[in-house]
Symmetry: D2
Subunit: 368 residues, 4 copies
């Protein structure tokens, strides 16, 4: 008798996801089965459901999840870091499996840029083996090549899922590419999960002051309550001129921010971020995952201010592990669990609606 | 009896410069007098004469020059690098004297960003001592604190002036900030002096292929003749689509250029340059010295391509010396003297007209 | 009637310092007089008193101090960062005044390498105007060109003096040159002021684990009490083999530390530090200020482990300001005042003896 | 009837290699068979034959080779860069196949540090399928996962084999890790293949002056003849004091070299290289592949000079491709073919003897 698992399947764009079941396969060598405990809903999931990105259908959505080992395939004895892996262990995993053979994987060493990578919850069809390839499900089949990690000691599933993919995304952009150092004044644009994760990394890196420019008020208030950000500017109640004046007033010598971390996702934020930066400063353009077209930017400011702008795309195993290594300190400092609101799997469509409306910071599906 | 020197003085914006004379002062301690041999005309001089930048008047223009030591002030015995300095030695000097005390000079170590710096030929008045403070003159009074350099062995005044300030500007942006390494494929946007200097530095740094995107045809032809650029695309006879297709076809795997060096000065070039760059590539925004306002740029491409964009502003002594150190190899490889057209000082207005019209690459004033 | 100030003067090597008085001069333009409140004793002072470094005598020792503005010279209205400066303000200052004109100051932008710099408490003679040029005195004459800083809001003189010059030295080496990022495992060799400051910067930069290898036990205990270090290994009670085994056991995958910060000052520590580092790791050689000669090092390990080793020498204004910017967060996290033991100026020789014996972490002279 | 190929097999340490034959297998999917044209002998081969490194026996030696495609396995249609691959095409390949799954491959992105990599000519047994796994043979079986490259247009097999593995090794250390920029003064320690390749990369990167410190005289003379190095110092006819004095005299301001590239392989060279470097300079420790034990090094100089030392280990596909991209320019500038001396396969032992004796720069085996 085969056991089955239920999952939330996107069958057509612009339609609600549907709960469907599939048999849990026996894991092949190198694979394993995880029981999902918590699965995050990410802004990208909303875009996916509207067909903003070219993905195959049907698909079990969900690229952020924490679970427990249910069955280990032959040869699977350790997690990616070499820790022994046993049934029942709490685990998480990177959402992508890069090909490991292309120019990006081998020559550039940028596995996040691999164009053939398989992504759980995004490009793995529900009607093709092993079917259970998304996080919004009771179980997931983790294919050989997946980077699976036991949760760091003392870190709870809630703390892992609270930031979801925003955590490693921010680690990649803020820690690995941009770099914030003790004493710096940092502006973070955006107060969604990526903005909050970026601001947390700025704090964790020793920033002297973190100015969060975002909104709406409830998100800024939540940030304030968990200790993220030293100054909070609400874009819904301030003018661009007032924000610029305030940022300059908050920076040493009124010169502007040492580092600007754009996590807003709105094209116009980039031009505003350039204005926030001091001469010889650095800006990260992290939030522009969706193509919303061109926006007016004055390149004279890049030359005159001698700025460096960095783009950063998603994350690879390096960043996922980096984030997990930093997570105990992050969890000790910020009450991450405050960010999440739980929904049973059956209420997934309600959770998506709440996410789309910005009413909750991080909706999380529970499977039990 | 006091000796005098003639110079080309900008007395009012939008009017021709006029030849006027001033006495050559006795140099104070730390200062020296140089007889100018060759003085370059730079695109910025045209902007200055039209009042596009806020400068005091009257001023002897000219921030690029080569001359010979005429008189040494007390205590001046060596050039900036420690070489003995004697009357008659061929010398050049940085155009700016940073204050040495401000945040940019002391903390950032970016003397090019000093806001109090004195600049020969730009912000030193002709009606204030020592009056002779510009390069378009028979003599210049080099104030204490000037970084004066004997010409490197084997380098002629023509080779120094041929690139003018474009040489150290390109050194700063291409060598010091961006970095081109052996085997790279590089696009240079712009075929004026800065573009040519940037392309030369790309060659000198070992680039496998340098693609020059510029115009008009005569400039590209001159570049070709002196060995600058491996591929030349004329913006006046090609469409943006054709240029992009050609650049991609010229790059490994059709992925785009490893490095894009924007030296065009036209805002729209930045968006085109972003399209030329490969994922994980680097772009230098060097040409946007004048504020020509905003241009549509799609920031999604910065995120998705994971680009790094660098601005670079002017140059400090570090870059001037770096350029002089590289000049012997550059002069050995490229026939720099081919870039210049000589005009006697009295024909300065004609020279400016020819520069503004793009008819000559580098007009140079001679004093004898 | 001229006011005088007393100071502790080193008149001959190997002899006790003597208390002597000198008149407090009227400050020239650009200068100011500070009343010293707290002056630190640094390990270097002990070396100086033994003639290990070539300095002129007599000299008022003391290159670490905090005081209050007593008199402002003409034109002195603001501190280095532009804050208004008034009599009575609590201030500190960089110990060195680089020349601002040499190769290191101008070209390299490394003012810490300036060979002509004047250093308070080290190379300014007591028998030459302005005489009061050391920190172990009731007053100091801060020459024009000094970088003077008001204490950051909320930071006490005790917190500034507790780390003394070790603070900006560690900032330079750890933050500016080496870089520690969230999630890293860091070994700090040395538990004196430089080692503690380095460990604090590692914590402040988000390190996941900081392993302090030092001694004697009292110093490690003090570190533990104020929250510096997660693991402490006493070199006096462990073998090198045991330390290496423990460090490897404490690092991810047993691969070794991501970053090793050598602050021990003993040449042999460098070879041990190389053993602690993982492949592709980074090591800072910060503690080797005194020339104690060569030590056996196996360079094969540098190649095979693909290590990067950085030296870092002293600090410039950039690092001093950087440290001050980071100090509020550092002071909030660690009880810095616990590090200091106070001595009245008259007991300076006792304080030096206690420092030399390693009995106190940071002896501090008080002037009242 | 199965075709066979002969190869030079190391069957026991300290004994001559023997010519033996094995059948050429039919290539599996992803594999291909190459006919070897030229195979280089590297100093490491001598070490291998003496058992200095723990390798399995028997083994066909040879990790540097150029050949032609003889048979393509199923699915092999393109080379690593995407060029179409056909029987008869001239090709080369990286000697190592990293595992692609370990910490070094995935997290660090340093495939050269992979501990499980298969290396042709080093750790692939002759008595295990596919047997023909070394370069010193008429044919080689290139396993799936090999990075195979068609020779760049205009580059001959002789030019590829002339530097052998020294080319990508130098690319890794000099270009990818250390960086030489136009105008720099560079010292290269060592005049074997790695030293010459490093010096070529210094030239190709625009160095103003390259000082080669090596020997014996014949090697320096060969370097001189092909244009490698501007100054040559023979370690067999100079004292360390004289070499240091000369290097300082050849550097700007007598400060020492901007960059020192150690490719000597003798431990003591590292201490000498540290002396050659200027303050704030950079040194590459590239030559210490073999563990020859500790050597006296004064770490005070690392701190005081504020040096950066980089180790660099072997190379990965990134560096091999980088080297191939740079090779056309390198081959156009230096007469690479002058470096090689040809030996028929049957004379392999003579070739090894000549290599060990330093009589030839690069012995190359021919198969026809």
């Amino acid at each position: 008798m085969t056991e089955t698992a239920r999952g939330a399947v996107l069958q057509a764009f612009h339609e609600p996801v549907a709960i469907a079941a599939a048999p849990i396969p026996e894991p092949e060598p190198g694979a394993l089965i995880a029981r999902i405990e918590l699965a995050g809903i990410c802004g990208t999931d909303i875009h996916l459901s509207h067909g903003h990105l070219p993905i195959p259908l049907p698909v079990v959505l969900g690229h952020e999840a924490v679970g427990r080992v249910a069955r280990l395939g032959p040869g699977v004895e350790r997690d990616f870091t070499g820790q022994p892996l046993r049934v029942g262990d709490a685990i998480t995993w990177t959402s992508s499996i890069p090909c490991g053979r292309c120019h990006w994987c081998v020559v550039e060493g940028e596995r996040t840029l691999c164009e053939q990578r398989r992504v759980y919850g995004i490009n793995q069809r529900f009607d093709v083996f092993p079917r259970l390839s998304g996080g919004w499900a009771e179980a997931i089949y983790l294919q050989p090549g997946s980077a699976v990690f036991k949760l760091p000691a003392g870190v709870t599933p809630e703390q892992v899922i609270a930031l979801g993919c925003a955590g490693p995304t921010a680690y990649h952009g803020v820690v690995d590419i941009t770099g914030v150092t003790p004493g710096r004044t940092v502006v973070v644009q955006g107060s969604g999960p990526v903005g909050l994760a970026a601001a947390m990394y700025a704090h964790l890196s020793g920033a002297a002051k973190v100015i969060v420019v975002g909104g709406p008020a409830a998100r800024l208030e939540l940030a304030r309550q968990i200790g993220v950000g030293d100054v909070h500017l609400d874009i819904f109640t301030t003018t661009p001129e007032a924000r610029l004046a305030r940022v300059l007033a908050e920076t040493p010598g009124g010169r502007g921010a040492d580092v600007v971390l754009e996590c807003a996702g709105v094209p116009a934020a980039v031009a505003e971020g350039i204005a926030f930066a001091r001469r010889n400063g650095t800006m990260l353009v992290l939030g522009q995952y969706t193509d919303r077209g061109a926006t007016p930017i004055n390149p004279h400011l890049i030359t005159k201010k001698q700025l460096t702008l960095h783009g950063s795309w998603a994350f690879g195993e390096r960043h996922y592990l980096g984030h997990l290594n930093a997570l105990p300190a992050m969890a000790a400092r910020f009450d991450l669990a405050r960010l999440i609101v739980r929904y049973p799997l059956a209420q997934v469509n309600q959770a998506m609606t709440d996410m789309a409306g910005g009413e909750v910071m991080k909706p999380v599906l529970t499977m039990t």
